[in-house]
Subunit: 577 residues, 2 copies
């Protein structure tokens, strides 16, 4: 352990100050706050008796206690050091937190702004927020400013931060059906999200491959549809995850994808599923005649009354388990071929009925029920935009329906807001984190020729952090009216080729790129994209996440951090901008 | 714990038997043995007192003991089950191992063949091999045949395996300079290699970014050139790794890359390095005037006598630490611009000297020294094939020089063997495991346009396991004479964007694809590429590796294993072949 005087002498501070990076703030907070002022670049020691004074709150108190522990135990050692002047004579003994309205719930659009000040000459820092959720964001910021080895910790002083998000919906989608993840994996993900000020864990729980959610009213769905008795989420698991989410300011938004992507339901209820357990692309058939867009067939039969009985039981149980006001109903990739395998549906179609009518019947029989449970319904864009099977806007009331876009980049976002719907952006071109690792299909003839190894992944290439960071989700929208309909965005990890072995490295730090882009944007004060300046900051943040137990993948050799600017593509490129 | 009778009743066996996969052997050994006969599909229980009888040997005894533990503790539970008939009345009580020549060293080309028999009616299984290294391969095979929950283990009986590798050099390259890996990471990698019957750990120890190898004669190289005092490999570490390699039948082949890729040497010896710590692509200069092919400049100065003093000290120490008869000297990517920054070199060039003469001088001053240490030198192909700086074949004696190819796919392999050199294939188009994750350069202007996210990685796309599996490293060679010069291949993990967080998932199971391709090939009995049949086997093996502590990435949803054939690209595709 260093003596305190020696400690003073070698006090360093994480800094990117260099001729090329003079505009960078020399404190690495990710995502970068909207406004940070620290004119004198002074630091102060944290008192060994440092405390956080905060109002009591069901979830916030746990958060405060967690941050108090983190601050005192993280022992963050900056990878880039720069001398900083330590203010002597006193230490910072407390952080005083004020919350305007303790009752504001963790809903979409809740005020997450905060201000954080550590005035020179005061033994207290001050954090003010409208809601406890904003206060949690401020606590995260505070934690990222602390460095040193306990009990010799310090942090900047004479600093003032005013911060708030650009978008209210900043999410990560995780698919737990194609492969299973443990409860610990999900909680670690929520913890990492919170550290990145991401606030929506979009849990794509079920799909054709497995049904891991144990539901009291429909226990057979998981009993027969899960991968195994040890690969389920019990009500206790869900409750633990939801509670953990609240304590981290992360909404847990459940998705029960129907009427497509429901093959796993057929294990318990073969009668309500069409084309279950069939080969997804029958021999001799064209793509338009496929039974599913990938292996794993099965769609709920909209003409079977039993379907609605089961679906409503599922919805009712899910609504009970998930207090989140949004309910994601899926409704993507409903494929004609699958429904057509059913005799009743065939006969309906022969009598002049249409596939879209079937979808509308399904929506009309489920959406009002979801709404009756006080939920806003989120559907994938397909329900409105699919070329073959789509619902008329009249069955998709705008006040109760949000659409999530994934195709055609900015084009579909435009179409959705032009139709008057709120939208969540998860463009597969930019935000799909699973892409670029080849295809998962067996015996794919494109591999017959050696060297054709790049193919097989429909959404290749790999989405780099820069690609995610640079994407403007309101690109091309015509006015503020349209832009206001864009609630935010989500990166998505579909699990055909992911499970707990790669969860952290697929998500991080790329989801961090989304986090900053949606929190404080991807441009500097001059309106220029700041990915050039962001690389060192993201790299530093990635190392800090790793130390916090998140296995984020490296984006550069360590050498690049040790030699700021030297790993750029071109010399002085930042000055050229 | 199950009772034994219940255990008998529910005895299942891992099997891929299905109409489409009737040619698949129903035992999942990876890599697939050359010859496996198991006509009656019967199994036998392993005695709780099962022992392995083997000759004593410095390294082999440790291997035997390890397998004995693994067999009794792995508790392998097959993911695909199929009834198998258990032979009753006796159990298998021993594996008797015979080794023809215990003195055969772990060198390139050592006989790794083995035969393994578990006859019906005998309480002993028999493993015979020419060398202990072949016996280790047989032990691995034996371990992969065992399943069940201890003490209720069983394995096939009436089985006979005759096995040997197609290629003697089957390797994994790991770059520990751009990012550092712990000793445990390296040992885990060697363990996984051994399980895949890979036999060469090509350790790219040093490069421009860091010099982590602590050398008694040149301690300042690591003291100043490593990333930090905790990010080095001490002689004790190396000795531990080399010993671990022997116990796993894995050669540890050191690479000290010179004269290029030596920026890190300049921290201790600035005088022997040209263009050290300069920006890699000077402003206003073209690619041909670059100082290095990526950030991290520095090349050893061939005109400075001190260079050779240091290099020989390094070589001598490395040879002492690594008993492996191959010594990799690097010699790739020697860049004109870097040498030209040196006044003495400039003047040499002005006087009519050439860059290639400088390289030849360097080779002539180091290769004979390496050879004098009883080592065969491996260089990257550049030393012979580079367009600008290359050595005349006369300074690269064929009996002492092996070339490793990485550019132009099969083309350069052809050129090397046509010139009469032995070759190790690590084609970047097929075998570079780091590719496809975007670029690591900061502020890369190709990201100015949103949507240009695929770029930045010179060797994109991601090399899928199929791409690796399908590559024929002797493709296009004209005769057996040429083919015999191909010693084998290596997959390579360069570490610009890899470190311990992603080590396992970048390597596995893709290195397993190489392993089978180089051990027993990538074609079935009819000569047809067998990747279609291999997908389920590789998937199963991937799950088994994960259980063994190797974080291999998933290649398919678990659903695909549970539903054999259903994840294929086309129905009945195997029958169409």
């Amino acid at each position: 352990m260093l003596s305190l005087s020696k400690f003073h002498m070698i006090l360093f501070f994480m800094s990117l100050v260099s001729p090329n990076l003079s505009n960078a703030i020399p404190i690495n907070i990710w995502p970068k706050p909207r406004l940070l002022s620290w004119p004198q670049h002074k630091a102060i020691a944290l008192s060994p008796y440092f405390t956080i004074l905060s109002p009591q709150h069901q979830y916030f108190s746990a958060s405060v206690s967690r941050y108090h522990n983190l601050i005192r135990s993280e022992n963050h050692s900056p990878l880039i050091t720069h001398p900083v002047k330590l203010t002597k004579g006193y230490t910072l003994s407390s952080l005083v937190i004020n919350v305007t309205d303790l009752s504001l719930p963790l809903h979409h659009g809740v005020n997450e702004s905060y201000t954080l000040s550590i005035p020179i000459g005061s033994i207290s820092a001050h954090l003010s927020a409208h809601s406890v959720w904003g206060a949690m964001r401020g606590l995260e910021t505070f934690s990222q400013m602390v460095w040193g080895r306990s009990p010799h910790l310090c942090l900047p002083v004479g600093i003032h931060i005013q911060d708030s998000p650009l978008f209210g919906h900043r999410g990560v989608l995780l698919d737990t059906s194609r492969n299973y993840y443990g409860v610990d994996d999900i909680m670690r993900t929520i913890k990492a999200m919170s550290a990145n000020k991401l606030n929506v864990f979009h849990w794509h729980i079920t799909d054709s491959h497995s049904f891991p959610l144990v539901l009291p009213s429909e226990p057979s769905l998981a009993a027969k549809g899960a991968y195994g008795p040890d690969m389920v989420y019990t009500p206790e698991d869900v409750s633990k995850i939801v509670q953990f989410g609240f304590e981290h300011g992360v909404r847990v938004l459940p998705e029960i994808d129907t009427p497509g992507h429901t093959g796993s339901w057929g294990e318990a209820y073969p009668d309500i599923v069409t084309c279950g357990n069939m080969f997804w692309l029958p021999a001799g058939k064209s793509w338009s005649e496929r039974l599913a867009s990938e292996p794993g067939t099965g769609q709920l039969n909209p003409l079977t009354p039993k379907t609605y009985e089961v679906v409503r039981n599922v919805i009712r149980d899910v609504v009970k388990q998930f207090p989140e006001p949004f309910f994601h109903g899926g409704a993507d990739e409903v494929v004609p071929g699958c429904w057509k395998t059913d005799p009743a549906i065939s006969s309906f179609l022969s009598s002049g009925g249409t596939l879209s009518q079937l979808l509308e019947k399904y929506i009309n029989s489920t959406l009002p029920y979801i709404v009756s449970q006080n939920r806003t319904v989120v559907y994938w864009e397909d329900v409105l935009l699919d070329a073959q099977i789509k619902a008329d806007p009249s069955v998709l009331p705008k006040e109760h329906t949000i659409l999530q876009t994934w195709n055609n980049g900015p084009e579909n976002t435009k179409r959705i807001v032009a139709a008057g719907y709120r939208v969540i952006v998860s463009s597969s071109e930019f935000y799909y984190l699973d892409c670029g690792h080849g295809g998962f299909l067996g015996n794919d003839s494109q591999y017959d020729q050696q060297g054709r190894g790049g193919g097989g992944s429909w959404c290749a290439p790999f989405k780099t952090w820069q690609s995610i960071y640079n994407y403007d989700i309101t690109d091309g929208l015509v006015d503020e009216e349209e832009r206001k309909l864009v609630l935010g965005g989500e990166v998505a990890l579909w699990s055909e080729q992911a499970d707990s072995t790669v969860l952290d490295s697929r998500l991080w730090p790329r989801a961090s790129a989304l986090a900053e882009s949606l929190w404080s944007g991807n441009r500097d004060e001059r309106g220029v994209k700041r990915y050039g300046e962001a690389v060192d900051r993201l790299n530093l943040w990635r190392y800090r996440m790793v130390k916090r137990g998140i296995g984020a993948e490296p984006i550069q050799p360590l050498w690049c951090l040790r030699n700021p600017g030297m790993c750029n593509a071109a010399q002085d490129a930042l000055e050229d901008q």
